[in-house]
Amino acid sequence: MVDDDIQREAVHAAIEAVADRLVAEKAYLTDLDSAIGDADHGANMSRGFTKVADKVEELDGDVGEIVKTVGVTLVSEVGGASGPLYGGSIMHASQELGDGLTSETSVAFAEAYLDKVQDRGNAEVGAKTMVDALTPAVHSYKKAIEVDDLPPLTALAKAVDAAERGVQFTVPLRARKGRASYLDWRSVGHQDPGATSTLFILEELLAVAE
């Protein structure tokens, strides 16, 4: 386990990178959400993570506490489905980081996060939601670390690759959960915004880890 300060710095850097990326992708995410939703996913994610970056700058608790604050902040800043899904699940999974960030706790975090998203949203894989990017990403990450004994960086690269496929997989699907499900067949052919923002976040985590 690396030093506390180094961990804290890494988390801060990751949060900043994620916030910057989501601000940069605001228009793109909004476009995706305007096709099959209410055109606010870009605003939700960029506003939410900008507030998170502000909030977290001042914090100097341990990694678990910082990540918990990320969740709490998203929950109060983001009023759409992504608020409780991202924010509530990060809050919940932050418990797994009590011993700091290790390859074991990162797997536990990822699993707890996925569980909570599924539990909260009740979406199966194939319902055209963030779950379609998240599930293969978490499965790949866990397998890479626990079965193949790969270093976290390699595992994370596999997770990004898996999430990317998940995002592509959402395009031809009919939405069964969330706002897009109201469009029923008309949702087919459109890429899911939440799966896309999930991919962007993982890409930034990878970039920072590298």
């Binding site: 209410d38 706002r179 008309r186």
Partner: protein
């Protein structure tokens, strides 16, 4: 496009329901709120509903969503008073949930009065939990 009229005893409720429904999907349905009495008091108003129907109408007709029984009576009366040359139907549907469904369907390119009415009434089966 099939027009939609939302008739609630509360002007705020009717407008708020239209707000939520206006956010469904990219294509926009024609949504008109007709809530409260003429003077804004809690109640419904046949003349106000008539006006809203006319504002929402084109040749494809209008579906009216209502909250309570006396809203149904005033909506029926409004329809009789209009004696319009397009069809106007009252949906037997929960008002908010029916309006959301109907708005999405009405914005679709193949929408008909029947399909919009049916989707509004399908909202009776809509479950929120589990």
């Amino acid at each position: 496009m099939v027009g939609l009229v939302v008739v609630s005893h509360s002007a705020k409720a009717a407008e708020g329901i239209c707000e939520v429904a206006a956010q469904m999907g990219s294509a926009k349905a024609e949504l008109v709120a007709a809530g409260g009495e003429e003077d804004g008091e809690i109640g419904t108003s046949a003349p106000k509903i008539s006006e809203a129907i006319e504002a929402a109408a084109d040749d494809d007709g209008v579906v009216v969503l209502v909250d309570l029984g006396s809203a149904v009576m005033n909506a029926e009366l409004a329809i009789e008073m209009l004696d319009a040359d397009y069809e106007v139907r009252i949906a037997d549907a929960p008002i908010l949930e029916g309006t959301l469904n109907a708005a999405v369907t009405a914005a679709g390119s193949r929408a008909t009065l029947e399909s919009v009415l049916e989707s509004a009434e399908d909202a009776r089966e809509y479950r929120k939990l589990g």
